[in-house]
Symmetry: C2
Subunit: 346 residues, 2 copies
Amino acid sequence: MIKILVDAMGGDNAPRATVAGAVIASQKDKQLYIILTGRKDEIQAELDRHKYDKSRFEIVDCPDVIDMNDVPTEAVKKKGSSLIHAFWMLKKEEDICALVSAGSTGAMIAGGQLILGRIRGVKRPALCAPIPNSRGGITLLNDCGANAECKIEMLCQFAILASAYAKAGFGVENPKVGLLNNGSEEHKGDPLRQQTYQCLNALNGINFAGNAEGRDIMLGDFDVVVADGFSGNIALKSMEGCGKLVLGVLKKEFSSSLSSKIGYLFMRKAIKRMRGQLDFDKAGGALLLGLKKPVIKSHGSSKPETIAASINHAATVHRNALIPAIEQLLDDCGIEGISEIINVGE
Amino acid sequence: MIKILVDAMGGDNAPRATVAGAVIASQKDKQLYIILTGRKDEIQAELDRHKYDKSRFEIVDCPDVIDMNDVPTEAVKKKGSSLIHAFWMLKKEEDICALVSAGSTGAMIAGGQLILGRIRGVKRPALCAPIPNSRGGITLLNDCGANAECKIEMLCQFAILASAYAKAGFGVENPKVGLLNNGSEEHKGDPLRQQTYQCLNALNGINFAGNAEGRDIMLGDFDVVVADGFSGNIALKSMEGCGKLVLGVLKKEFSSSLSSKIGYLFMRKAIKRMRGQLDFDKAGGALLLGLKKPVIKSHGSSKPETIAASINHAATVHRNALIPAIEQLLDDCGIEGISEIINVGE
């Protein structure tokens, strides 16, 4: 049994989409045991809409819900809320493997840091988003929003965390790491980027391949792109915005004339594949890397399929022992080593 | 007559594409007088491939060419190069209105600052890119690469410069200005963003509408999005990368099956329109804002149509008196005023 917590009240479509997603995930993976946190009556009513295996579902009643407007540090104190109660269970109950929520990112980061806690040696957890790339694979963008301000050591750790995740989460051997920068040449960027470049280059244990430009994220030449949470967030949302615009224009054009409508009939499959290639949610959401257990932030507007993908992905990273892999790679790379390199660099 | 300088040797496809572009532009706008700088024989040979109005073309022989690998501050010293000679002509000859080049961005910024010079009061010139948005219009992203590190006052000036440009270059009345940030709420971002938000909000003369997220750039809710050159560059290239991926996937899908090929025949027009909507070069390139005359940086891989669009756009901003409009708006907003707001803010 793989026990996974699902914050049933998180996200725009909760609890309908979260419960439906949990049921889909449980059908796909018979080893899953799902604990739904939230308002018991509402959750039960949603569960009753589906055929589900009662022996693998549990509801933990939490009367409170965190509002998207709650300040994260205040939200963390709402112990009766579906998200914060889940964090406490995740911390205390050893046999619970992971947590999935489509709720407030800020509250999740705060809960992760203040309740669950970081892996030994990790300075700050980072939000790592899987981006679909033109090779049909995934590029991990880390950090994409947890830390607006970063230091060299944090960026180096983000590279280590995401390298371990690329392997445990997506089966990538020896993942190629790039540093998000405003040009590919070594001297590019601000002093933070210039110094981080040198440190990543000197770091044993990861496969650093140089600077990555914004356009490289979706190209797929890198498996991991390291960024501070500010520019990573801007890159992620810029790509999402562009993808949305394209799908919107496509939709409009398909119905713009009789000729286009006929064309669409012939191209339905191709269009569907294309839509899939632009689906930022297909891997299920962003993983909060650096915490003691996997915590997945699913998109706020998650549909049942997105929630299901997040839950199934949480089971995958647990099976592939992500956390021990991170601990091992942190050891191999030598946290102390990073500090020394930095002292030389600065 | 509107005299415009074209660096005939700049860009991957020079001088063929630059000369062809100049001819196209001159056919579209009979008031243009074009001065091509570069290797005279090569340029003349290219010109001879076209039918062109000899009375409106002039070649200035420059034996040198700036290499894309030249360090900008060194490049500026190459007085015999097509780009730097053009900057000196632009500075010295009052009746020359603007300069267009598809050459090295770094050399253009250096040439702009060190040779042509800034408008009085402008701290730093910024590279302002016109991005196609989902409303069928243009969103100006300023700065998208000239200044990796920025201060509050610079970001405030970028807002002023681009507001004047939105009106003179694209006819937008009272352009809506957004600050590129990792969230829409007022408190979002690092201290630079938080303080700049307050200053922009207090600034009279521009229409500040709050924070813009990455996805808002292509949505079209803002006419101007202000960014430091680092995150602006990452946003621009992330969107370009996504657009390229989509067009690549579309192309592949169209020929993936007989059914798709038939569909394509019916949808050709719709697809062409869509490609147009994703064309980051349709407005011709990025304008270096804050210099004493308009300088347009066309994409390095510019085709003749892109160069032509840049030249015609340069004539438009000259006709609409961009430079006096910037001077006026800087006065209206009160440079001194910005400093005072900042002193309170910091």
